[in-house]
């Protein structure tokens, strides 16, 4: 049994760590590339959202590399994501691939049964340990990413943070025990701290909100965060893979990390719409109150919840007086156009800030 699952930012680490601990072989799809996108969009329905196309491409590439078991998440709406597993299964079966599909959904007892089968005669304690390790590893990875976001605008040599971050991610990915992870974390932190910085700069603060997949997957969003960082902006974002996983669990759904966003979004959107709509709106409101300079809102083309968010953000923008740049991504998005838009946006924010400073005097 060779397990595979599509990429979503760094979330692959979690699955890889868990199943390696179970003693299963994991075949991660190759890094998302042009070929993934081409394969995915060739076989997907035309108007399907971008994450479906890219993850389908991931799965095809993993199956080509010899994987025979696909693990997917499913949900019961209202966003289209919940139906991915079934639709991709349909498409892959029509392409004559042989594999077994395992879906995890909101049916917890069922999930546990499936996991037990995957866990190869491991006891409950060992299964719990595996999950704890996977989660810790993912959390470590995210801490490094957060750190990279903080220091990137101060770097003296352009690209040095990204280089250090890539090195740290390599180090962390290699570890498969708690002890090694602790060591790796220490090493990774010192690596990132070692980047030479110019602390006298005063970077713009930008919040990146939007649909989880497109925010988390750097290839798909054309590395918006790195680009903004290198233009001298400090990036904050409300969407993290660990938060996403926590809020999928039954209790934390209501009380978990989404709570504060739900509360902040209340004057604008009274009910969860599915997806990250409420986080996009709540995040924007919180960032605007926190004195951020601007918001970048990322969504895939025809994304249902984010269109609602886009409509409502137009009012948030007016009321809280914060500039918002909406980037709608599809498989044709080109680098140059995006860079131009980002540069123009950053220019606007800078000018706006300078004006404010003069105005305050």
């Amino acid at each position: 049994m060779k397990i595979t699952f599509p990429h979503m930012g760094t979330i692959g680490i979690l699955g890889e760590a868990i199943f390696k601990r179970f003693g299963r072989e994991v075949i991660l799809p190759p890094k998302t590339s042009k070929r993934t996108l081409t394969l995915g969009s060739r076989y997907s329905p035309e108007f399907a959202c971008l994450p479906l196309k890219v993850t389908l491409g991931n799965l095809i590439e993993a199956l080509e590399n010899g994987a025979d078991t696909i693990l997917m998440l499913a949900a019961s709406g209202p966003c289209r994501f919940g139906y991915y597993a079934t639709l991709q299964n349909l498409i892959l079966k029509n392409l004559d691939y042989e594999y077994e599909l395992i879906t995890l959904d909101y049916n917890m007892p069922n999930n546990l049964r499936k996991l037990k089968r995957l866990a190869k005669r491991k006891n409950c304690f060992q299964i719990g340990e595996a999950f704890r390790f996977g989660f810790l590893k993912l959390l470590t990875m995210e801490k490094m990413e957060r750190l990279a976001h903080r220091i990137r605008p101060y770097e003296i040599k352009k690209g040095s943070t990204t280089k250090a971050y890539e090195e740290t991610s390599r180090i962390i990915r290699r570890t498969f025990s708690f002890k090694k992870l602790r060591q790796a974390r220490r090493k990774a932190t010192s690596l990132l701290r070692g980047v030479s910085l110019n602390r006298t700069r005063n970077p713009l603060k930008i919040g990146v909100v939007g649909e989880t997949y497109t925010v988390l997957e750097p290839y798909v969003n054309l590395e918006v965060e790195r680009k903004l960082g290198e233009m001298g902006c400090e990036i904050h974002r409300p969407v993290w893979a660990t938060d996403y996983i926590i809020s999928m669990l039954p209790i934390f759904n209501r009380w978990g990390p989404r709570r504060k966003y739900r509360k902040a979004a209340r004057p604008y959107l009274k009910q969860e719409v599915g997806g990250e709509c409420i986080v996009s709106i709540g995040g924007t409101v919180l960032y605007a109150r926190g004195g951020f300079d601007g918001i970048v809102h990322i969504a895939p083309f025809t994304c249902l919840p984010e269109i609602v968010a886009q409509g409502i953000l137009s009012k948030v923008k007016k009321e809280l007086n914060i500039p918002i740049l909406t980037l709608v991504l599809d498989e044709h998005t080109a680098q140059a156009g995006l860079v131009t838009r980002l540069e123009a946006f950053v220019d606007l924010l800078e000018r706006r800030r300078n004006k404010k400073v003069i105005g305050d005097r």
Binding site: G77, G82, Y83, G274
Partner: protein
């Protein structure tokens, strides 16, 4: 003077209007419906809508715009779910909030939530909330609710007898839009049986779909729509799909088309989707996959947008009907 409540002639108007109308009228409240869709109305709405939205939402914005200034209350219920275990569509849930963010001069909006996902029997509660806005007594609300339910079931059973929806709906409308179709009234139609599936707000908005029902009938086809299939048959078909389709309208579309395909009573199937509609993109794939196994049924997938050219549509429909007729002649010979 009676209070006027405005209902946009868009989205689930085509399904729920008899219910809303009976409810409000029994409470002594006047119901005002927006004009039927025209180019001007759609254009007015386009000024306010987020540019990525689907055609149906754009049309709905136009209808809301049309109602502003004409009514005391705007009735935009937040339709989360109308059936157990399903949703309508994320955009329906956020619709009242989208409207509120887009327009500044809105009359008070009634945006009571209808969420029957967990407890389908819970319909009376939101109706109570609506009634209380107008300070009506619980007794009168309950009576109005019962009456509305009766009308609703009358409406649905009339649809299931094989009548087309606009024709049935016209008996509830004050001044029904002129039926663009003269022989919509005659039930016979032509000898070809074509299933026309899609969301009701695409199928029955004659402006949006460029009057496709009449065009098909003029070409000698008898049109069958998802509303004509009984819910039991739909449920039976959808149970066979590995994962339940969790959009209630989508479930109906998939179930009805699967039923019609399998029963062998149709010669062709036309799927009518609107540009940018999320569920449609998935439903189309499910239907196309099914119909691939039934080569004797012709399949046409149409996507509507605000620029739809009439000539292009006519050509495609004519080619589609020609194809079916030629196939039939081949089988006969």
């Amino acid at each position: 003077m009676a209070i006027k409540v405005g209902i946009p002639r868009a989205l689930l108007y085509y399904r729920l209007y008899p219910f809303w109308k009976t409810f409000f009228n029994s409470l002594g409240i006047e119901v005002v419906v927006s004009d039927k869709t025209t180019k001007k109305l759609l254009k007015e709405g386009l000024k306010y809508v987020p540019d990525e939205a689907c055609l149906s939402i754009k049309v709905a914005f136009g209808h809301v715009k049309d109602l502003i200034g004409k009514v005391d209350y705007l009735f935009l219920p937040r339709l989360v779910s109308l059936e157990r275990g399903t949703y309508i569509c994320p955009k329906f849930i956020g619709f009242p909030d989208m409207i509120r963010s887009a327009f500044d001069n809105l009359p008070p909006v009634i945006d009571t939530s209808f969420n029957l996902r967990r407890r389908p029997s819970n319909l009376f509660l939101p109706m109570c909330r609506i009634g209380r806005i107008f300070k009506k007594s619980f007794l009168s609300i309950h009576q109005a609710y019962k009456k509305a339910l009766e009308e609703e079931s009358k409406y649905l059973s009339s649809l299931r007898k094989g009548n087309l929806l606009p024709e049935v709906l016209s008996s509830w409308e004050e001044n029904p839009p002129p039926l663009l179709n003269t022989h919509l009234k005659s039930k016979s139609g032509g000898e070809l049986r074509i299933a026309l599936v899609g969301h009701p707000y695409n199928l029955y908005d004659f402006f949006v779909n460029l009057n496709i029902i009449k065009k098909l009938e003029n070409l000698g086809a008898r049109v069958i729509t998802p509303e004509m299939v009984s819910p039991l048959a739909i449920k039976k078909e959808t149970d066979k799909i590995p994962q339940e389709v969790y959009w209630s309208l989508g479930r109906e579309i998939v179930g009805a088309s699967f039923y019609l395909i399998e029963s062998g009573s149709i010669d062709g199937l036309v799927h009518l989707g609107s540009f940018g509609c999320g569920p449609d993109s998935f439903l189309r794939e499910l239907i196309a996959d099914k119909i691939r196994k039934y080569p004797e049924i012709a399949y046409l997938s149409l996507i509507l947008d605000e620029h739809s050219g009439e000539a292009g549509l006519v050509t495609r429909l004519e080619a589609f009907i020609d194809l079916i007729e030629r196939r039939k002649a081949k089988v006969r010979s």
